[in-house]
Amino acid sequence: MATKASRAAARLMISPAVLLLLGWMIVPLSMTVYFSFLRYNLLMPGDNPFVGWENYKWFVTDPSFSAAMVNTLLLVGGVLLITVIGGILFALLLDQPMWGQGVIRIMVIAPFFVMPTVSGLVWKNMFMNPVNGIFGHLAQAIGMQPIDFFSQIPLLSIIGIVSWQWLPFATLILLTALQSLDQEQLEAAEMDGAGWLSRFWFIMLPHLARAITVVILIQTIFLLSIFAEILVTTNGGPGTATTNLTYLIYVSSLLQYDVGMGSAGGVIAIILANIVAIFLMRMIGKNLDA
């Protein structure tokens, strides 16, 4: 890409893809923005008058909105925390030479290939069910009262399920990063008198910084739109305890048939996601260059 001619050629060649993607994005986006200014409820057929910011006002002042915001942040933050820390630990473990390494690695990756609805249901019915679930049985076996996960600690349970799904991704990225660390650096540090913890802290962790950034950026994008796990387990409840922004939009537009309100929520979600993205890029994006 050094010469003017090659740059121009490059632009020309990627332009179809760019135009296609732009169209792909622009059409639904403008339709959403358009609907968000209409009173458009499927239960009230007839004309759909333009109502300005009314949908936004109702959406934002709805008490479930602030709950959904908090839940979204807790969900994203909680899962990020668990997957990054857990991912580092798993990566360190899998990096050790051990018997059956290949099989163990594949097994660790496996949860990533399970569909969100399936894993939500498996966790709900086979693990967290207070009567039939394994956790319930375990609790009873040691003489404790089984926990009813989805009514006592609903959000934490969802965070647990989603973390289980995303841990493999974090582990995989961090493991490859860890394996790209120059062994001589570790040996040099060892000769310099650094114990295992110091080597981890001063050599491995800085080396992983970039991979951690990638994990956080990619996961945040997906975690902001967690939906299936909530739908099949708690339906956003009890109350609004597990309603995140995505789920709230679903409730507005498909349970209350209020397309206008749902669209307004969608636009708000887009704006929030972009704010988060810019914020993340600013904060940790500088790890990516250099």
């Binding site: 001589e184 040996e187 040099a188 060892e190 000769m191 008198g193 650094a194 110091s198 080396h207």
Partner: protein
């Protein structure tokens, strides 16, 4: 102090014995070079001394104390790696100070030592840079700086110059030799380059497939190579090795004669005759590859820079009998 003794040290990786039992003593303050072809186990031997690999048998003593099971950090040795192994996210200052910081030394003393090392190594202006912003030679100096601040009992170098270009290599070679003159600390230096070995060493250890072929000063190895391997390895260009009637005439299976010990002339009083092949003009010297009817390989001969001989010329060669090396069937030297 840094007297290192290897007593029947052995190393195998799985079923492959890389280093058969080996004895070696390195005296305090000595500059010892391990030299040998690639894959002969030089790095492995160095890493055994450093403690980065466990020995499969035998004992390593440092200053008389058994260090076989002592962890690397406690052996009091510092190592400079071929890849430099600098910490890329730390500044040069932090890199050099790292071992001191790990030792829990106070900040003022750390700074003093880092500044001293930086002055010695001409790194003062670069202390705030990252390794990625330095040239190869500077990185090498940072790696050396990180080693000298620890004031180790001995330095271990693993092919430290092989990533540098030729000019820089000569410069760094001198710097490392000067450093040794000043510090008088034991240095063990691994290289596959016999020129580095000859120019830097007090004592050369020639390794071949994990075995020690010969130990001695550079000139000892040059003058009295104990066997064919050492004879062929030490000296540049390589010694000419001749078998057949010429060797038998002198009571040996193989005779060796270095290029610099053969005289070229165009009179008729000579012993061997040949035709000039490729010639390499270095200015000060010229190396001729002489084809002889009795040999497949050309004979290398050194002549002065102003000897005028051309491809195809027939010439006359006179080996210097006093500098002829004789070897038996097993390749061992006959005195």
């Amino acid at each position: 102090m840094g007297r290192i003794t290897l007593d029947k040290v052995r190393k195998s990786f799985g079923a492959i014995e890389v280093i058969p039992p080996l004895d070696l003593t390195i005296e305090d303050g000595e500059f010892v070079v391990f030299v040998g072809p690639s894959g002969c186990g030089k790095s492995t031997l160095l890493r055994l001394i450093a403690g980065l690999e466990d020995v499969s048998g035998g004992e390593i003593r440092i200053d008389g104390k058994d260090a076989t099971d002592v962890p690397p950090a406690k052996r009091g040795l510092a190592m400079v790696f071929q890849s430099y192994a600098l910490y890329p996210h730390m500044s040069v200052r932090k890199n050099i100070a790292f071992p001191l910081r790990m030792a829990g030394m106070d900040k003022a003393e750390q700074d003093r030592r880092v500044d001293d090392a930086a002055r010695v190594l001409n790194l003062t202006d670069y202390l705030d840079r990252r390794p990625g912003q330095l040239s190869g030679g500077q990185r090498q100096r940072v790696a050396i700086g990180r080693a000298i601040v620890r004031e180790p009992a001995a330095f271990l170098f693993d092919e430290p110059l092989s990533n540098l270009d030729a000019a820089l290599r000569v410069g760094m070679r001198l710097e490392i030799s000067e450093l040794h003159e000043r510090l008088k600390t034991t240095m063990i230096y691994v290289t596959h380059d016999q020129v580095e070995a000859m120019t830097m060493a007090d004592k050369i250890v020639v390794l071949n497939a994990g075995r020690i072929e010969q130990v001695g000063s550079p000139l000892e190895l040059y003058r009295q190579p104990r066997n064919l391997f050492v004879a062929g390895f030490i000296g540049s260009p390589k010694m000419n090795l001749i078998t057949g009637p010429e060797a038998e005439k002198r009571g040996a299976h193989t005779i060796g004669i270095r290029p610099e010990h053969i005289k070229v002339s165009d009179d008729d009083t000579c012993i061997w005759r040949g035709t000039v092949g490729v010639s390499e003009h270095l200015g000060s010297d010229t190396f001729f590859h002489i084809h002889m009817p009795s040999r497949d390989e050309p004979l290398t001969v050194r002549a002065g820079g102003d000897v005028d001989l051309y491809h195809g010329d027939h010439i006359c060669l006179t080996p210097d009998e006093a500098h002829m090396h004789r070897f038996d069937e097993k390749g061992n030297r006959i005195e």
